[in-house]
Every structure is written in C-alpha cells, then in structure tokens.
C-alpha cells in the first residue's frame, strides 16, 4: 500500500471509510456463500416411513418385442398405472447439460406425459458441480424438487440431510419385472432400506485405439494380462511422436478419484471393510498405488491435471493409445470420424493382477424421491409412475443408448437384453465395445459401496477427494507410497470420526 504522506487527512479518511464499507460487503459475501445456502429451516433427522402405493390396473398394452436369438426379454403383458386422480406438476432435476443428452431425456419425459396426461413434468438442469450445494440447500430450505437424478454419494448426502424417502417398493417391483444387476442396486441399501432407484449405470473398461497398437506393436490386439498392460503402456509411449501409452491423471477431481479406484479395486483394495471400519492403509492399497505410480509414467506429462474433458480430447486426438475409462466416446467416433477411423476405437476387459480380482469401477445413477413429493399421495403416485415408466426397457433404451451411447448402460437385465437397445445405430455399430461394457457393468464395484453403504460417511470421504490427495503426494510431491497411504488412512478416519460424531 502506498504511504501517501502528502495527503490531506479528510480525503484519506473518506477513502478508508469507503474501504471499511467494502470490507463489510466483501466479507458478508463470503459468509453469505455458506450461510445463504442453508438460510432456511432446521431439519430433523431422517425419518423412516413406509409407502403404500395404490395402483389401478388398466387395459393391457401389448408390447411387440422381436427377440434376437441371444436375448430373452421378460414379457410385458400388462401395464399398470398408478392412481393419479387430479392434474399434478412435478419438478425433476437432472445434471446433464449437453444438448443431445437433454433431448433424449426430454423425449422420454414427453412419452411419459403423453401416457399420463394428468402429469406435467418440469425439467430443471442443475450442473453436476452445483448438485451437492443445491440439493442440500433445497432440503434445508424446504424447496426440493419432487425427484432428482443422483449418484450413490449424493443420495447418501440427501439422506443424511433428511430429504428423501425409502424406495423399497419400486426397487422390488422393478426387480420382479426386469431383474436388477445386483451390484447396481447394492450401493443404495443401508439402514434396512433402499434409498435410490437406478436408472442407469456406468462402467470402466480399457478403451484403446487399435491403429496405434498396430503401428507400434504390430497387432491391434489389446493387453489381456496385468503384465501385458504395463508392457504395452511402455512400448506405446513415444514422446517423439506425441503418443503416450496410457491416459491417467493425478488431479484433484472426481475423474481422478475414479481412475485411481479403478486400479485399487483390481487389488481388492477398499476404503472400508464389511463392517464399515476404515481399512484404507493395507498392503493391497499400497500395491495398487505402486502400480498406479508405475503406469502414470506412461501418461502424457500434462495429464497430472486432467479432468473429464481433457482425456476425452486426448483419446480421439490419438495422443494416448489406451485409457481406463467409461466405454466412450462412441458417438464422437460414429458421427465425426471418417472411413476406417470410425472403427478405430475398441474396448477390452480391464486386466487384473495375478493375485487380484476381476473387477473394475462402475458408477450407478439413480432416482431419489424427496419428502416433499410424499406429502401428497397423488403427487407421490405421479413420481412413482414416472420412475416405473422410465424403467421399461424401451424407455431405458432412450435414457441410455440415445442419451449417450456407451456412457449410460442399462441397470437391469431386461434393458440390457432389450433388442431395441442393440438395434440403436451407435450401439450396434460398436457392438463389441458394448458387450464389454455390459459385462463390466455387471462385475464393477464402487469405492465405499463394495458391500453396500456400510459406512454412511462415504459421501464425505468421497467428497473430500482423499484418494486424490494421496495420489498427488506420491506422484507430484515425491512422498513414499507407504507414507502417503498412511496419511490418507488417518485423514479418512478423521472424516469418519467427525461424521459419526454428528
């Protein structure tokens, strides 16, 4: 700050006063950032209550399904309708901003509103970055939507905030009709209830560019074993050509957390044991981080800071030969690449070490129903009708294959076997990739949810991105794996202790 010795006193005083007022405003804005979000009502702890759904069986609708020889689809010989007696408007929050995704969701909702003319669904797009603050502040302020698309971490946060109701009846109904993938429904069970109804899942596999493998290894075949994965990554790293063996990251993002866990899980490394005790610091986790560290040297130098968008640019650009990732970007290759390049994307099972387990990361996505919707039976029935409607295989096809093929995968067997899904132009064009994807979805696991939500502090642990901090200590700050993992364990224990104390 300049000293300003030559100034008149009154002038300086005036400036200081303006400054003081501005400080107040600025500091107020900081506090408002937190305070404003939950300036509302204090809430009581979540309560458990059961719902009785009244249904009226109406005229049967015959679904004509042409089953392919390899698929079996449960016959849909009846159509149930929830009893909706008067017009109702629902508010539905989702987090998918890209226009093609919004169009697919709107299409599904339009079909629902056509079938249920008394229900109007207002769609609100809340970007993922704002999903947590907005959901929690809406619960605190009593201004929640009726229904929202969520993921297990967010579902737990909404449950902790006392905002959602159990959905056991819907889970059971859909299971009877369509049969859930067991690992997809597992993360939503705690405290004796299901709290989310999956509408899709996502799974990681080893995505690769066959042309790059062929150029440097003489064959387009992917690595089939753990050792081959490392060998391929090394051989495919050609900095002089601007090509790297594998795309990984060490950023402080959800993407990094998923990438790291995708390596942890094949070593059977978990954050919690079956009883919910923190077991992060164990030989399996240490092995996993050693493996990640070794693989990371074959990732582009700038990848330490990558987020979703960065790797999704690097892979189609041919900068990386392989990437552990969601089974995408299929639409981009299908629509924007020409000639042979359209098929220059493939997927393989994510390899596992000899003493590891055959799995990968998967991330189910679900519907949550807010308490506000349950205040009126007519409204609740409309919400349940919407969820049941969207669970139909033909609607699931819109929400998965049409929304973003390969990214969103069917959450239950009927949707995965639905011929219409496999007839989607992009899905059928990349049929092999999508077969790998479905298998990956069936055997995948999610950090903190390997045995269901055994420790409900998982949302806070995941939100704190502790796994990323551990990776950054190892990869960017040169700390030893053992020491960084021990540090991570301690931080997780602290977070859990604080969460439990609440």
């Amino acid at each position: 700050m300049p000293s300003g010795r030559n100034l008149k006193y009154s002038r300086r005083e005036a400036i200081s006063k303006i400054g003081a007022a501005a400080v107040g405003a600025a500091a107020g804005a900081v506090i408002a950032g937190v305070g404003g979000y939950f300036a509302g009502l204090s809430q009581t702890a979540p309560t458990t209550f059961t719902e009785t759904v009244t249904r009226t069986v109406t005229q049967p609708v015959t679904h004509t399904v042409t089953a392919s020889p390899t698929t079996t689809v449960p016959p849909l010989t009846r159509e149930e309708k929830f009893k909706i007696e008067r017009p109702v408007e629902l508010t539905f929050w989702h987090h998918h901003a890209p226009p093609p995704r919004q169009a697919a969701i709107q299409k599904a909702i339009n079909l629902f509103m056509k079938e249920y003319p008394m229900v109007k669904v207002n769609i609100v797009v809340v970007p993922w970055e704002e999903a947590w603050p907005k959901t929690l502040s809406a619960i605190a302020a009593g201004t929640t939507p009726d229904v929202e698309w969520s993921i297990p971490d967010l579902t737990i946060a909404a449950w902790e905030a006392g905002g959602i109701i159990p959905v056991d009846d819907l889970v059971k109904e859909i299971d009877e009709r369509y049969k859930w993938f067991e690992n997809t429904i597992r993360p939503y069970y705690w405290e004796g209830h299901y709290w989310g109804v999956p509408w899709s899942t996502m799974a990681w596999a080893l995505m690769y560019r066959p042309s790059i493998l062929k150029r440097y290894l003489g064959t387009p075949e992917p690595p089939r074993s753990w050792d081959e994965l490392f060998e391929f990554a090394k051989k495919l790293t050609k900095p002089e050509d601007g090509v790297y063996g594998i795309g990984l990251t060490a950023s402080k993002t959800l993407y990094a957390q998923e990438a790291i866990y995708n390596t942890m899980c094949v070593f059977d490394s978990t954050i919690f044991d079956q009883q919910g005790k923190v077991v992060f610091n164990n030989p399996k986790t240490i092995k996993a981080f050693y493996a990640y560290k070794e693989l990371f040297q074959y990732s582009p130098p700038g990848s330490y800071n990558w987020n979703w968008g960065d790797i999704e640019l690097a892979f189609p650009a041919g900068k990386i030969a392989m990437m552990p990732y969601f089974t995408m970007p299929q639409r981009l290759f299908y629509e924007e690449k020409k000639g042979d390049e359209r098929k220059d994307i493939a997927a393989a099972d994510w390899p596992s070490p000899p003493d590891g387990i055959d799995t990968n990361l998967h991330y189910p996505n679900d519907w949550i129903i807010f308490k506000s919707a349950a205040e009126d039976e007519n409204r609740l029935n409309a919400v349940k009708a919407l969820i049941m409607f969207c669970a139909r295989p033909e609607i699931e096809k819109i929400l998965t294959a049409e929304q973003d093929p390969g990214v969103w995968l069917p959450p239950h067997e009927a949707a995965a076997e639905y011929p219409g899904y496999w007839e989607d132009p992009v899905i059928s064009f990349f049929r092999e990739i999508n077969e790998v994807a479905i298998e990956a979805a069936k055997k995948g696991r999610l950090y903190g949810f390997e045995w269901g939500a055994v420790n409900t502090a998982v949302g806070a642990v995941s939100g704190a991105l502790v796994i990323c901090d551990v990776a950054q200590r190892i990869l960017l700050q040169g700390e030893s794996v053992e020491s960084a993992v021990a540090w991570g364990h301690q931080v997780i224990e602290e977070i859990v202790a604080k969460a439990k104390k609440k």
Binding site: M1, P2, S3, G4, R5, N6, L7, R12, E13, I15, S16, I18, G19, A20, A22, V23, G24, A26, A27, G28, V30, I31, A32, G33, V34, G35, Y37, F38, A39, S42, Q43, T44, W132, P133, L136, S137, I139, A140, A157, A161, G162, G242, K252, P300, P301, G302, Y304, N305, A460, G463, A464, L465, D469, Q472, R473, L476, Q477, I495, K498, K502
Partner: protein, 289 residues
Amino acid sequence: MTPNKLGYLLLLPLFAWLGVVIAFPVFYGVYLSFFDVPYGIIKKFVFLENYVSIFSDLKFRIAFINSLIWTAGNIALQTAIGLGAALLLNKSFKGRDVGRVGILIPFIIPAFVTALVWRWMMEPDLGVFNAVLKQLHLIQKPIVPLVDYAMVTVIIENTWRFSPFAIIFILSALQTVPSDVVDAAKVDGAGHLQIFRHVTLPIISPFLSFMGLLAFFWNFNLFDLIWLTTGGGPGSMTETLPVLIYRRSFREFRMGEGAAISVFSFIFMAIVTTILYFLPKIRFRGGKK
C-alpha cells in the same frame, strides 16, 4: 412530511434490501458457526467447538498462509503492472484508444474460459509456455508449472485477468493529474522520475490506496479461478480459505466448520481494514510533528 423524513422513507427499501442480502447472511453465518450443521441440518449448539476444530486443523493453517501469499502476490503484481501499463496508456501515441479497449479483454473473459485456456497453455508437451521456452533453448525438458510452481502460476493467471481493472482504475487517476502542475514542475527543471515521484504519485495515492483495498477483498475472497484451475492442488498448495470453505461445506458437508472459517475470514479482513484505516492517520500525525 419534512424533506428529512421523506429522504429516510425513500431510503427504506434500500436498507431493507441490504438487510436481506448482507446483514442477514452475515449474522446467520455467525450463528451457524456455533452449531453442528452436518449436511445443512442444524443439529446442536456446540459453542466454540467449530473454532477449536479449525484452529487445530493443519489444512486450515495451510489455507490461511496460502491466502496471505495469494493476496499479497496478486496485489503486488496487479498494482505494479497496472501502474506501468496505465502510465504507458496515458501517453499520446497511435493506436492508444485501441489499446485502452483491448486491454479490457482478459477482464471480460469468463473465469471458466480463463482457467481452461491457462491450463492448456501450461500443458508440458502441448502448451505454448513450454514451446516458447524450448524454442528459446531455455529448457531441455518440459516443466510443469501447475505442479512445480502452482501458486506462482495461478497468481500470474489471476493477475492477467484482473490487471485490466487496475490499469483502467489507475489510468483514470492519472487523468486527474493537472497538466499545469506537471508543466510547472518541468519549468522548474524536474525530470520524468522526479515528476512521477513528487507530483504524480502523491496525487494518485488515494486512488492507489482504494484500489489496494478493493484488490485485497477481491483477491482474498477469490474462489472460482483457483477452483477451476487447480482445485486447490496439488495437495494443498493452492488451497486458500475460500476453497477450503467450499470444500468443507459442500464436499465434506461440515457446514458449521465452513461457517466458522467464513467468520474467521470476516474478522481477519475487518482487522486488516481497521489497520489500514488507522495507519494513515498515524503517519499523517507523525508527518505533522
């Protein structure tokens, strides 16, 4: 109704608005800092427990130190660059008007775009930063600024974004310097440096003080650019108090602690302002002696 009463009546809506958007959130934030608020639910009164918790938290101490480094670095750079560029743009030369408008471009680019562009520029093998250094044979292998020099890099990034404000602000101050005073100094034989030191600087000092205060609030409270560029990493190297408040409140869901950190920031800024408020008086009085 007397003119005075009418005046107060007309001010009422403004005060009501300020009460809603400033006073209430401030007091509510202070109130929340004394409660256990997991996931936004006010559960129980814990008095000073949240404060004890944050003061014993290493992450908080690191974030506070980072905030000080971040704020000081930004103010110093923004003021220096702002002053230099403003002096240049105050001269008469061809294309000056274009320069004055063009200088605003970084200021009007959204933070998201700025963060994205800078992340790509700092890319070790694709980014323009390393490419230039390589062309100049200054480096053998790529450097990774957002890892090796993370704090410095984000300070430079933020300075790039906010310097236009400083430039325009100081430029407007320079235009209040009376030309006859400058001419008189020239007639008396003063050189450029002497004119700047003894004529220009004293006249623009109040503006610089005010700009320094604004820069202090804005930089101390800045969240978006850091969050979008580094997310507070690597490790906690760029995690400032606003980033920690967000993370603690909306990622770890300990909103009582988040509110306590906010209150600490508020008190800290109030103290700094008070010092700035009294310091000039002391100096002024000292000068009088």
